[in-house]
């Protein structure tokens, strides 16, 4: 490698590192950018097909896309529409729930004192209620901030999306041209693999969450469990987190079952519904959709989720897994090269 090539290589590495630092330092820009990129990658398989092939093929793909959006969108729309109703109902029942919770805890306290002679001095119900009230107050005070960031997202996401759809091809060409010769092949292949894996993973998780949410909502509706839509929605959203997601998703349903006075609402039936839905997910949906895309050790997945949530919140949690899968691929490639050259 001569002097010019070395300068080019170091300059490229420096600019890449500076871009990463910039992305970490300015999450207000990076997060909407990442979100737009996710949407772009999700829609790319369809947009690619809509722009190539004969008119007949394009029309065929267009109709398939409309049907797909309808069948995927219908449960989401129905859930979101009913989540609002469920949420209002839950809010109106909160004082009642608080009273029931306090009564149950009081009975438990008395039983512990009678059976074991222990006086429980802590009051978790009061603590919980105070926390909920505090969270409500926090939401109210930070509402203007949320509103401004929401406004920012409404402005930035369409702008970035326009950029991705109209300019991404030219931009990626320019980016690839700037990669120095000695690392071009490897960079290009890794970059392409990352894009493919990332897009596939996001689509797969989205479909998986929709299927699980629909199954849980349907099951809870059948057994007459309260708040089926909000619980199904939570189960679908939390399912995005591997391993720990299904456990977090069932917690609100356990609370509802514990506090409900309705004799038809049983913990057992609810647990069966959640277990069945997660079983279908584990046996059918996950192996078919997700497992081939990301092949990581469970401990790596859990640690990655913690790191992802720390760095980028909800978006961080969603995108960290394909990022880790990409780094695994990268290290494997570097290791392979080192083992040949040594």
């Amino acid at each position: 490698m001569n002097k010019n090539q070395k300068i080019k290589l170091y300059l490229f590495l420096f600019i890449s590192a500076a871009t990463i630092v910039f992305a970490i330092l300015f999450p207000r820009l990076t997060l909407p950018f990442g979100f737009s990129y996710i949407i772009y990658l999700m829609s790319r398989p369809f947009t690619l097909r809509l722009t190539t092939g004969s008119t007949k093929q394009r029309l065929g793909y267009f109709f398939l896309m409309i049907i797909g959006i309808f069948f995927l969108g219908l449960p989401i729309f129905a859930t979101l529409h009913n989540v609002d109703t469920d949420f209002s109902s839950l809010s109106s029942h909160l004082p009642e729930l608080q009273k029931t919770l306090q009564n149950k805890y009081f009975a438990f306290k008395v039983k512990v004192f009678e059976d074991y002679g222990w006086q429980l001095n802590v009051d978790p119900v009061d603590y919980l209620i105070r926390k909920i009230e505090g969270f409500g107050a926090f939401l109210l005070t930070s509402f203007p901030n949320y509103l401004s960031s929401l406004f920012e997202w409404f402005l930035l996401v369409p702008l970035f999306l326009y950029f991705f759809f109209m300019e991404s091809h030219r931009f990626s060409r320019r980016f690839l041209e700037a990669i120095p010769n000695p690392i071009f092949e490897k960079c290009y292949v890794l970059f392409s693999q990352f894009n493919t894996k990332f897009g596939e993973y996001i689509i797969a998780k989205f479909i998986e969450a929709t299927i699980l949410g629909t199954l849980v909502t349907g099951g809870l509706l059948v057994i007459g469990f309260p708040y089926p839509f909000i619980l199904g929605f939570i189960a679908g959203i939390t399912n995005i987190l591997p391993y720990i997601g299904p456990i977090i998703g069932v917690v609100p349903a356990i609370f509802v079952a514990l506090l409900s006075k309705d004799p038809n609402v049983t913990m057992l039936s609810m647990v069966i519904i959640y277990s069945l839905a997660n079983l279908i997910d584990m046996v059918l949906v996950f192996p078919l959709l997700v497992s081939k895309i990301v092949n990581l050790h469970p401990i790596v997945v859990v640690v990655s989720i913690v790191v992802g949530s720390q760095v980028g919140g909800i978006i961080g949690v969603i995108v960290i897994i394909p990022f880790i899968a990409f780094f695994k691929l990268l290290f494997k490639e570097i290791y392979k090269d080192l083992s040949v050259n040594l």
Binding site: M1, Q5, L48, G53, E185, V189, T196, E333, V340
Partner: protein, 202 residues
């Protein structure tokens, strides 16, 4: 009024044409002439003359060029080394490259010189087809060289977007490999024969 009309009118009237030459018009005439078009070869003309794409229609060649990456190399710049992971197939658009084999990473040498490849020749097709390819030779630019490369992700995209064209390209690449395999087999047979002869002499 165009330059030609002006000249024609002046010559009809018997007026003098003037000493000054209109350079931009001449430049246009020169650029538009078939001779200069032939010299200023574009990707389409380049691939029309390459055997690998002989079965491609004009439109297919046009689409094929969209999947290519132009890479420029300086003299003595390494394109890839023997043992590197290979992902791409290169066509020499301009310049020439030298092929070296038996490269030893312990010694700072390129290995033994095998052959020089010139314009319109190609190399690295194994990298496109094999799952885990290791380059079997070191390639170094002999002069200022422009390569047009197609890589695994491009081939996958091509097969997805234009399956007929992708299949044609794969068939042609497989044919190149089959020809090289045939050549290798013939060379092995000849070598075995030679070894046998030498053994008999001993």
């Amino acid at each position: 009024m165009s330059y030609e009309k002006e000249i024609m009118e002046k010559s009809e009237k018997g007026e003098s044409l003037g000493e000054r030459l209109d350079i931009p018009l001449l430049k246009y005439m020169w650029d538009a002439s078939p001779i200069s078009f032939y010299n200023k070869e574009n990707y389409h003309d380049f691939f029309k003359k390459i055997s690998v794409l002989s079965s491609f229609s004009d439109n297919e060649i046009r689409l094929f060029t969209k999947f290519l990456h132009r890479r420029e190399f300086m003299p003595n710049e390494t394109i890839f080394k023997q043992g590197d992971s290979g992902y791409g197939f290169y066509f020499i658009f301009n310049g020439a490259v030298d092929v070296y084999a038996n490269h030893n990473p312990q010694i700072e040498s390129n290995g033994e010189f095998v052959i020089r490849l010139d314009k319109r020749q190609f190399f690295g097709e194994m990298g496109l087809l094999e799952e885990f390819n290791r380059r079997s030779a070191t390639i170094i630019a002999a002069e200022n060289t422009v390569l047009l490369g197609i890589f695994k992700p491009d081939l996958e995209r091509m097969l997805e977007m234009y399956p007929v064209m992708g299949a044609k390209f794969l068939r042609e690449t497989a044919l190149i490999m089959a020809n090289r395999m045939g050549q290798l087999t013939r060379e092995i047979i000849a070598l075995k024969k030679r070894v046998k002869e030498l053994e008999q002499r001993l």
